[in-house]
């Protein structure tokens, strides 16, 4: 008996050692449950951060656009004076390409906001690339590389050349390059609906891993796009990244209130993606709940049996000066210990499964299918959670043990 340990601990551990088989079985059961939770949680959080990264790599977290133009009928003033109501049918206005009014000032204002990390002005519009008889419709984006490349992971997707466009350069997708039969250093003519034309040299080819984007996206320098789209000195949108992507919606609303511009966060524009993430998290929670419940029932049933088996010993303890509270604690402690030990073994098992998974789930080129995060906090939470669950599960058997009538228990 170690003098460091209290009476309840000593009795609880002796009881557990005495019922070795039961203890090992239930620890095994809890361990299996915890390993499933650890594995699934790591898998799902890895999957989510992967999806998340893929989503945010290609879009700004907040996009600021000029306010939509609306039609304002000027009629009816006279009728109003005459206290008459008149209903008017107004056709919505077509939204032409416009610049954000005084976008430089807005940008400076945004940069002063905390949480805002990058602000990149963008000019974008529709156009065609033309080479000989071939032409393709494209979406033209004019960027300031020093800002824009901090916003979007374009640099990582470049397979040839560089993303740093100058005024005579153009970046095209791999599909568009194939369609047009061009490669690095070739020239392409760009024409927009507003009549701008320029012949630019391909300085980089990117692959977004998405055929549509590889066909349609084209990047040019900011000023080149301004002149092509007839928007001299203007910016059709400001794209913003913030420190915490999940606070984007709140910040977007702040910006809207401050500037009166149209502000969209990625959270609002990717509602589907978010509901998918939420559904995944929900399924993870449900799995955790039921695995936890199973472990709790296992611990409870083992302890209920133990209380019945040991009722004479409990009676004896009570007769020789052990209080009800001490008996209660002896059994609660057993539940907590079973949970804790199960979770330690289970965490190791879960870690092993993840390692195994990492070995199996690979892309054809040998890179991992997606990165799984080993969050040490997950193991800590699993240990804490299992201990709490074990203690709660032990509550009913422990109360039963504490309420045993010692006279009856000893008589049997």
């Amino acid at each position: 008996m170690n003098p460091l340990f209290p009476f309840e601990w000593i009795v609880a551990t002796r009881f557990m050692r005495e019922g070795r088989m039961q203890t090992l079985l239930i620890i095994g059961g809890v361990a299996l449950g915890v390993s499933v939770i650890v594995f699934i949680s790591a898998l799902i959080s890895g999957l989510q951060s992967n999806l998340f990264r893929r989503t945010l790599d290609f879009q700004a977290q907040i996009v600021i656009l000029p306010p939509e133009e609306i039609a304002r009928p000027l009629r009816g003033l006279n009728n109003q004076k005459a206290n008459k109501q008149e209903s008017v049918l107004v056709q919505a206005r077509a939204q032409r390409l416009r610049s954000i009014d005084q976008w430089q000032k807005v940008r400076d204002q945004l940069l002063l906001m905390k949480n805002v990390t990058v602000v990149a002005p963008v000019v974008s519009g529709a156009g065609f690339v033309i080479r000989a008889d071939a032409n393709r419709a494209i979406t033209l984006t004019g960027i300031e590389p020093e800002n824009y490349l901090r916003l979007i992971a374009l640099k990582d997707k470049i397979i040839a050349g560089s993303a740093n466009v100058t005024s005579s350069d153009i970046l095209v997708g791999i599909e568009l390059a194939k369609d047009m039969g061009v490669s690095m250093g070739d020239k392409l003519t760009l024409r927009t609906a507003s009549g701008g034309t320029a012949t630019l040299m391909i300085s980089g080819i990117f692959d977004f891993g998405n055929k549509g984007q590889n066909q349609r996206a084209v990047y040019v320098a900011f000023r080149t796009a301004q002149s092509l789209l007839n928007l001299a000195g203007g910016a059709s949108s400001l794209e913003v990244n913030v420190a915490d992507p999940f606070s984007a919606e709140n910040i977007a609303q702040d910006i809207q209130a401050q500037t009166g511009l149209k502000v969209e966060s990625w959270i609002a524009t990717n509602a589907q993606f978010f509901s998918a993430l939420a559904a995944q998290s929900m399924s993870n929670t449900i799995i955790r709940f039921f695995v936890g419940l199973t472990a709790a029932l296992g611990i409870a049933s083992v302890l209920v049996v133990s209380v019945v088996q040991k009722s004479k010993e409990i009676g004896l303890l009570r007769a020789t000066g052990t209080s009800r509270q001490q008996v209660l604690r002896i059994f609660l402690l057993q539940g907590a210990l079973m949970g804790l030990m199960g979770s330690i073994v289970g965490s190791l098992m879960g870690w092993g499964f993840l390692m195994l998974w990492r070995g199996i789930a690979k892309n054809a080129d040998g890179t991992p299918l997606f990165v799984i995060n080993f969050d040490p906090m997950l193991f800590l939470y699993a240990a804490l959670g299992a201990t709490v669950v074990g203690t709660l599960a032990a509550m009913f058997p422990a109360l039963r043990a504490a309420r045993l009538d010692p006279a009856v228990a000893i008589r049997g």
Partner: protein, 249 residues
């Protein structure tokens, strides 16, 4: 009515106990028991099965509550005590020896003797180990003190139980058929050990027994019949150790 007296280990006044109170099957098993045990007495409680011996013993041991009547342990009234206070009083003043299952099999002989002190103090220490070792020595089990209790013979287990019953230095030891499970030779030596502890420590013993041979070795014989004390007398011819061939029927 007797005055409170330090020399009184136990005083019972009109103890009544019924089971199934309020149901048609209500049965009263103790019909108003009055009993006094003085300090250092060595008394036998005899009687046929169902006469209420064990119920009375449980009530005296604070394991069960009477429906009526008063119980004083070393002069202290017990009727108003809460469960935790009863546990403390039981731990400090009463030692138990049962017929079966006296020891926790997960612990060694020495640890079993330590348990009541451990429960009281919360942590093991050298002092309780020393006290327990001394008692183990007194009951002659020093070579077996590190054995798990299941590895001990029935007689040895009862000796450990005696040591455990005495470890808190209680005023009263209650023994419920302590030798009922043993062969004659072991029974005699266990009985002699209790007698010796009674003599040397002055601890009061109340022993429930079916064995008239053992009862005849006690100073006082209390006989219960049908929930009443039928007779209670001093045993003037206490049989001495070794009078094994004497049989009383």
């Amino acid at each position: 009515m007797a005055e409170y007296n330090d020399a009184l280990t136990l005083r019972l006044e009109g103890i009544r106990k019924a089971y199934g109170v309020g149901t048609p099957a209500e049965t009263e098993v103790l019909h108003g028991i009055d009993l006094i045990l003085k300090r250092g007495e060595f008394a036998a409680l005899i009687g046929p099965s169902g006469s209420g011996k064990s119920t009375l013993l449980n009530i005296i041991g604070l394991l069960d509550q009477p429906n009526q009547g008063k119980l004083f342990i070393t002069g202290q009234p017990t009727e108003l005590l809460k469960d935790i206070e009863l546990t403390r009083l039981r731990a400090s003043e009463i030692g138990f020896i049962f017929q079966f299952h006296n020891l926790l099999p997960a612990f060694t002989a020495l640890e079993n003797v330590m348990l009541p002190r451990l429960a009281e103090l919360g942590h093991p220490d050298d002092e309780m180990r020393l006290i327990a070792a001394e008692l183990i020595e007194k009951v002659g089990l020093t070579p077996w003190k590190e054995h798990k209790s299941n590895d001990l013979s029935g007689g040895q287990q009862q000796r450990v139980a005696i040591a455990r019953a005495l470890v808190m230095n209680p005023a009263l030891v209650l023994a419920d058929e302590p030798t009922g499970n043993l062969d004659t030779k072991s029974a005699d030596s266990v009985f002699d050990l209790m007698r010796e502890m009674n003599k040397t420590n002055g601890t009061t013993f109340l022993i429930v027994t079916h064995d008239p041979r053992l009862a005849q070795r006690c100073d006082r014989i209390i006989e219960m019949v049908d929930g009443n004390i039928a007779s209670d007398k001093e045993n003037l011819n206490v049989l001495k150790i070794g009078d094994n061939n004497t049989h009383i029927s």
